[in-house]
Amino acid sequence: MNALLLANETAASAGWMLRNAWIIPFIPAMSFLLILLIGKRTPGKGHWIGIAAVSAAFVLSAIAGVQWIQHVNDAHHASGSEEQALSVGGGTLAAKTESPTAGAAPAEGESAAAEEEHVAVAPVRNSVTWYENEGTNVKVGTLVDGLSVMMLVVVTLISLLVHIYSTDYVHGDRRYTHYFAFLSLFTASMLTLVIAENTLMLLCAWELVGVCSFALIGHWWEEQPNSDAALKAFLTNRVGDMGLIIGVTILYFAAGKSFDIVKINEMANSGEIRQFLLLVASCCLIAAVASKSGQFILHTWLPDAMAGPTPVSALIHAATMVVAGVFMVARLYSVFFHGLTIPGSSINLLALVGAVTLIGGALLAFVQNDIKKVLAYSTISQLGYMVMALGVGAWTAAVFHLFTHAFFKACLFLGAGSVSHACHHSFDMKAEMGGLRKIMPRTFWTFVIATGALIGIFPLAGFWSKDEILAGTGGWPDTHGTGTYYAMLIMGMLGAALTAAYMTRVIYLTFFGQYRGHSHPHENGPRITIPLIILAVFAVGAGFLNLPPGVFGAGDAHHPTGWQERFGHYVEPVGKYFPDVVHATPSYLLAIVSSAIGLAGVAAAYAYYRKVETRSRAEGRKLTELPDGITTRSKPAKAFHTLLVNKYYLDHLYNNVIVAGIKGPIARAAYWFNQHGIDASVNAVGKGSVIGGKFLYTYFDQKVVDGAVNASGTLSSGVGEELRHIQTGKVQQYALLLFGGTTVLAGIFLILLTT
């Protein structure tokens, strides 16, 4: 690996870490092997190896991040454009003037600014030949740009915190070492995914990530439900992988036999690939996104995946793996952008899938009693936000939401784990929790902060990212998005209200009211609370990385100062491999309205639980809901409630119809056909050559009729008996077979020769 070929001359000028980014996934990969081999014999039973490896990877990722910022700045220096020094975090960084509205409002005459925005920053690429086939050189390598670097940092940071948290949380587990081994492998796979240079590598890492998820969901495989959940996750992902495989294949041939992501994107941008092909490819890839990122209708595995240990849920099923789908769309954005004709339109498949998931997932969160499942549906719903954002052309908003969501959702999951750790390892909010506010203050406050971020309360992280998405839909007046997606705007707002309401419900049920459980809860130790606090800090601060113009003295659109849109500036690719997205103009009014809607959601839920509180005081019972609520009074509401409790009956469809159908009748029919159709006719032919055509008929007739009556079972023994007829042991019958066969063959030969 040291003899890496330099694929790109510009790479030479980039930082060392950017050129050698392969080291970052390599370290956890080695740690996986080390833990498996010697983990059990080391003092920490392997967790020290994992923590050390992930810390190293985090440090290197951070270095890569700094070098990337340097790289972007260098590119702008080189372009000789107007520079403006500004001070960030003690260091002096150069940034150029940019105009987020340039694309949207070219009429304003900002031609100079518009040009400057297109100062291309070449991604740092580095690859070696993996194999050659049919003259095609398939490479393995790294593609590092803002998106990859951002993902590297997020994944390693959260993975590190989860590692630390886990040393306490799964302490004394029966497979402690294996747990850490798979955490390492997962981290390595995810890091490979984000720096993958070509779609084939992406596919490989994609599936590896799925396997780690399988192993970690099924961590406690002694219990059948856990292994069932693991199986479900893997199989659902496989269904999506089918789409990925086909999509990758289509793009491979469309791009002239190349897996190269940059090349595919460039060709999609330049129109060298037919739009129809792009459309088919993006539809296939959306299936992959749906399975991996839990979009409707392939989302059902994600709530079940909560069967795994909680830190795993935080790492894999909230912060990192599930965003792989979003990442993939962001990576191959040109394909989707042109394939689905995102610009200028008002609806497309990707946005629709995202919006439906956003609402559908949020509604399901209301009927869950398991705190982790609420969070799982919340994840689904938030992933819907991201996918929707990508669908409406708000690339930066989507990626920014991915970034902020990773922190507060990890915080929420770890918080839920912390609560459950204290409460007998139960996750049932109604039966085992309540009133934990005073007992577990640190957990409570971090949880509340993260919830605030999720709901989008000013000025927490989620507020900024969600607001950008809503603006990016272009549906609000004067936001000038890539397209004008009114439906998505409405769905997004509705989603905000729902999110606020169900999260308030969680907070109330968990931390307020009276304690309903049977154990003695207590606050957890530092290895659990410190990661929570760190994540909470990020949940507060992450949003400031991409302040819209004009907020907090960030200058106006043409003279950015401070933190204004730093995230977008460094993360969003500029170059031929990225489409011309239009940056929407943020709107104060929109921000106020969406916040109001969110707060209304909180207020509604708060009002409801105030009532519950009063009632339970009055009746002296520990109530968790109103016994005579709307679902008991109104028939449609009740029906809707039943629909939600049954998760839209999708699980029934999958398990009882599709899976049971294939595994049951269809497979059995195929096998029956095998034994009765093919095998029996084979036997019949053998027998027929002994006894003659007439006998064949009666035999087959009998067999079929007989078989239809019996329908199943006792087949192979019967077949054995049938064949035994040939094998009578009588010499003359063998001789007959021999002579007959020879004659027929000789005849065929003769015909072949003479004709």
């Binding site: 035994r724 042991g729 009588k730 010499v731 001789a735 002579f739």
Partner: protein, 99 residues
């Protein structure tokens, strides 16, 4: 003379022999049918020998006769053994090879 007529005769004889081998139940009769087959082969050998003007055909015919003699000897010995053990030489009752 045509070569054909000998070959056809041999073919007819051969097929009659095959029929005998396949259809008869008496082991001695089966052995006789085998003799028919061998003789058919011999006719072919000699006819082709004559056609090619070489003695090779005849020599091989002699070898076949020798082998046939050996075969009848061993075959009849086996029939005797069979008879002694089973008091019958009906081949349809011989199914020791049955699985």
């Amino acid at each position: 003379m045509l070569l054909n007529q000998f070959l056809l005769l041999a073919a007819a004889l051969f097929c009659i022999g095959v029929y005998g081998v396949l259809a008869r139940r008496n082991a001695v009769l089966v052995l006789m049918s085998v003799e028919l087959i061998l003789n058919a082969v011999n006719i072919n050998f000699v006819a082709f020998g004559a056609f090619n003007r070489t003695v090779a055909g005849e020599v091989f015919g002699l070898f076949v006769i020798a082998v046939a003699a050996a075969e009848v000897g061993v075959g009849l010995a086996m029939v005797l053994l069979l008879y002694r053990n089973r008091k019958s030489i009906d081949l349809t009752e011989v199914d020791l090879m049955k699985g």
